[in-house]
C-alpha cells in the first residue's frame, strides 16, 4: 500500500483532534508525575514532611545496593514473561475458537469475560481460599483425584507461591486478549482465507500465513499494553500474600508500594517505581521504533 504521505499543509489540524486527550492528560497527570519524580530525588518520609533533604540519586544508589530490590526485579521479570505469555496463548486460542460458529457462541463470548470483570479484592480472596491448605478446593480436588498424597501449602512455600499467584493473574487477564483478538479477527479477509484453503493450506498454515499477519498490529499493541499493565499490577499479590512468605512473592511494584505506604518512605518508593518505568521504557521504545520502521517500509 504505497500512498503518498498525508498533506502537511493544514498542520494544526491533527493537534485539534489531539486536544481533548492531551488536555485531560496534561491537566490531571502532569502534576502527580512531576511530583513523583521530585519525590524520588529527595529523602521524603511521609510523616516528616518538614525535613525533606535533596539527595539527588541517593535513592537510586540505595536501590542498586538493596538485595530485596534485585530479588523483586527478578520476580518481576518472571512475573511479566510468564503471565503475559500464558494470557496471550490462552486468549489467542479462545479468540480463534470464539470466532467459529456454534449455537451458543454469543453466550460463550459473554461468559468468558467474567474473570476480567471481578475486582481484585474478590479475586485475591477467592483464590487464597481456593489455595487454602486445609479448607481449599484445589487441595481437596487434587487429593480426591489422587494426584497428590498430602495437601500442599501453595501460598506458604517459597517455591510455589509466585506460580500460584501467577495462575490467578492468567485467569484474570486472558479474557482481555480473547476480546481484543476476537475484534481484530473480524478484519481478516475472508477471500484470502478461502484462497489459502483452496491452495491446500491446513488450518495451522492458514493461521500462520493469513490470520496472524492480518492481526499482527492488534496483537503487538495488545501485548505491549498488557505487558505494561501486568508489570505494574500488585493488588492481587497484596491481597493474597502481602509479598510473602519472606520476599518470595515480592515484585518490584509491590516492593515500591510497601516502601511508600507501609514504611512511608515515599522518596525511596518513588525511585523504585521510576526504575521500573525506565525499564519498561526500553520495551516501549523498541516497539515504537519497530513500528515506525515497518510503516516507513510499507
Amino acid at each position: 500500500m504505497n500512498l503518498p504521505a498525508a498533506p502537511t499543509r493544514r498542520s494544526l489540524l491533527p493537534f485539534a483532534f489531539l486536544a481533548p486527550a492531551l488536555a485531560v492528560e496534561v491537566a490531571i497527570i502532569c502534576y502527580p508525575v512531576l511530583q513523583t519524580v521530585w519525590m524520588s530525588l529527595h529523602d521524603f518520609v511521609l510523616f516528616r514532611p518538614n525535613s525533606v533533604p535533596f539527595i539527588a540519586f541517593g535513592n537510586f544508589a540505595r536501590a542498586f545496593m538493596d538485595p530485596v530490590f534485585w530479588l523483586s526485579l527478578w520476580n518481576s521479570v518472571l512475573w511479566i514473561v510468564f503471565i503475559v505469555l500464558f494470557q496471550f496463548l490462552l486468549g489467542l486460542g479462545t479468540a480463534l475458537l470464539l470466532n467459529r460458529s456454534f449455537w451458543w457462541r454469543g453466550l460463550a463470548r459473554a461468559l468468558v469475560v467474567i474473570p476480567w470483570a471481578l475486582p481484585s479484592v474478590i479475586i485475591g480472596l477467592m483464590w487464597t481460599w481456593m489455595y487454602d491448605y486445609n479448607l481449599g478446593v484445589i487441595n481437596d480436588l487434587l487429593l480426591r483425584l489422587h494426584l497428590i498424597g498430602a495437601p500442599i501449602a501453595w501460598l506458604a512455600r517459597p517455591d510455589t507461591t509466585l506460580p500460584s499467584i501467577m495462575l490467578a493473574l492468567v485467569w484474570q487477564g486472558f479474557p482481555f486478549f480473547a476480546v481484543t483478538i476476537l475484534a481484530g479477527l473480524q478484519t481478516v479477509s475472508q477471500e484470502q482465507l478461502e484462497a489459502a484453503e483452496i491452495d491446500g493450506a491446513n488450518a495451522f498454515q492458514r493461521l500462520r500465513s493469513v490470520v496472524l499477519p492480518a492481526i499482527a498490529e492488534v496483537l503487538a499493541t495488545a501485548l505491549l499494553l498488557r505487558t505494561i499493565w501486568v508489570a505494574n499490577s500488585l493488588d492481587v499479590i497484596l491481597v493474597m500474600t502481602g509479598g510473602g512468605p519472606g520476599y518470595a512473592s515480592h515484585t518490584l511494584p509491590l516492593y515500591a508500594f510497601l516502601k511508600a505506604y507501609s514504611s512511608m518512605e515515599i522518596g525511596y518508593g518513588a525511585a523504585l517505581s521510576l526504575i521500573l518505568t525506565a525499564l519498561l521504557l526500553f520495551v516501549v521504545y523498541a516497539y515504537v521504533r519497530r513500528a515506525a520502521r515497518a510503516e516507513a517500509a510499507a
Binding site: E25, V33, T221
Partner: protein
C-alpha cells in the same frame, strides 16, 4: 468460511475446547456463587462441603437490605459509563490524528501517552489526591470519572490507533475524492468500520473502571462510593464476612456480563472483504 467439518468434528475441535476454557473461566466464580448460597455453618465446615446443606438467600437479603450495595453498584455504573464517554470522546479523535496524519512530534506524543501510563498508579495516588482536593473534586462522580479516564485514555488511544490503521486509507481518499468533507468521511466511512474497535475499547474502559479500587478508595467518600470499595468494607479487621462478600462478588460480575452480551454482536459487526471493496 467453507464449513466442511462434520458436526462431530466441530464438536471435538471447537465446542469441547471452548467448554473447557469456559469451565476454567467460570470455576472460581461458580465456587463463589455456591458459597454465597450456603449458610454460614457450611462455609467453615471440614471436610469441605461442595453443595450447600440447604440453599439460603439470606446473604443476598442482608446485602441488599442492610448495606448500601445497590447504591454502590449504581455509583460504579455511573462512573464506568462516564469514564467510557470521556475516554472515547478524547481517544477517538486522537487515534484519528495519529493514524491519518503525519506530523512532527507524532512519535513523541504517542510514546508519551504510554510513558505516563507506565508510572505506577500507586505512587501517583497521594499527589493526585492533593490535586483533586485543590480542584474540589473529592467525593464527586466527576472526580473519579476523570481519574479513571485519565488512565484509560492512553491505552484507548493506542488500541484505537491500531484498529484504525487496519482500515485502509484508500477508503478515506475515495470518499473525499467523491466530495465528502473530512468530518463526513469520519462519520460515514471510518466509524462504521471502526465499530468493533470502538466497542472493544469501550469495554476495556468500562471493565477497567468497574473493578478499579485504588482511585475509588482514595478519591471517594461516603457520598460516592463504588462497589469495589463497598466490597472491601466486608473485609474487616477481625472478621471476613464471607457470605456477604461472595454474594456481592456474584452480583458485581453480572452487569459487565450482561453488557457484553448486548454489545458482542457489534463487536463482530460483519466487516467483510465486500464492505472494504465497496
Amino acid at each position: 468460511m467453507i464449513e466442511r467439518s462434520t458436526p462431530l468434528r466441530r464438536l471435538l475441535t471447537v465446542e469441547v475446547p471452548i467448554l473447557a476454557i469456559i469451565g476454567f473461566a467460570l470455576a472460581p466464580y461458580l465456587w463463589m456463587v455456591l458459597t454465597s448460597i450456603k449458610p454460614d455453618a457450611d462455609i467453615s465446615a471440614f471436610p469441605l462441603r461442595y453443595l450447600p446443606s440447604r440453599v439460603t438467600f439470606e446473604h443476598y437479603f442482608t446485602l441488599l437490605a442492610q448495606t448500601s450495595f445497590l447504591g454502590n453498584l449504581f455509583n460504579s455504573l455511573v462512573v464506568a459509563v462516564g469514564a467510557v464517554a470521556v475516554g472515547l470522546a478524547a481517544s477517538v479523535p486522537a487515534a484519528y490524528a495519529f493514524s491519518r496524519f503525519r506530523f512532527k512530534g507524532r512519535q513523541v506524543l504517542m510514546t508519551q501517552f504510554l510513558v505516563i501510563n507506565m508510572f505506577p498508579v500507586v505512587l501517583l495516588i497521594i499527589p493526585l489526591f492533593v490535586l483533586m482536593r485543590y480542584l474540589h473534586l473529592l467525593d464527586t462522580y466527576f472526580g473519579i470519572i476523570i481519574g479513571h479516564s485519565t488512565f484509560a485514555i492512553p491505552f484507548a488511544v493506542w488500541m484505537l490507533t491500531s484498529y484504525m490503521n487496519g482500515i485502509p486509507r484508500e477508503l478515506d481518499e475515495a470518499a473525499m475524492i467523491d466530495g465528502a468533507s473530512r468530518l463526513q468521511t469520519i462519520r460515514l466511512v471510518i466509524l462504521p468500520l471502526l465499530m468493533p474497535g470502538v466497542v472493544t475499547t469501550a469495554i476495556y474502559i468500562f471493565v477497567t473502571s468497574w473493578n478499579e479500587y485504588l482511585f475509588a478508595m482514595m478519591l471517594s467518600g461516603d457520598h460516592v462510593r463504588t462497589v469495589t470499595v463497598a466490597l472491601q468494607l466486608f473485609v474487616g479487621e477481625f472478621t471476613v464476612q464471607w457470605g456477604l462478600l461472595t454474594a456481592g462478588g456474584t452480583l458485581v460480575a453480572i452487569p459487565v456480563t450482561i453488557l457484553f452480551l448486548i454489545v458482542q454482536k457489534r463487536l463482530v459487526s460483519g466487516l467483510t472483504a465486500g464492505a472494504v471493496k465497496a
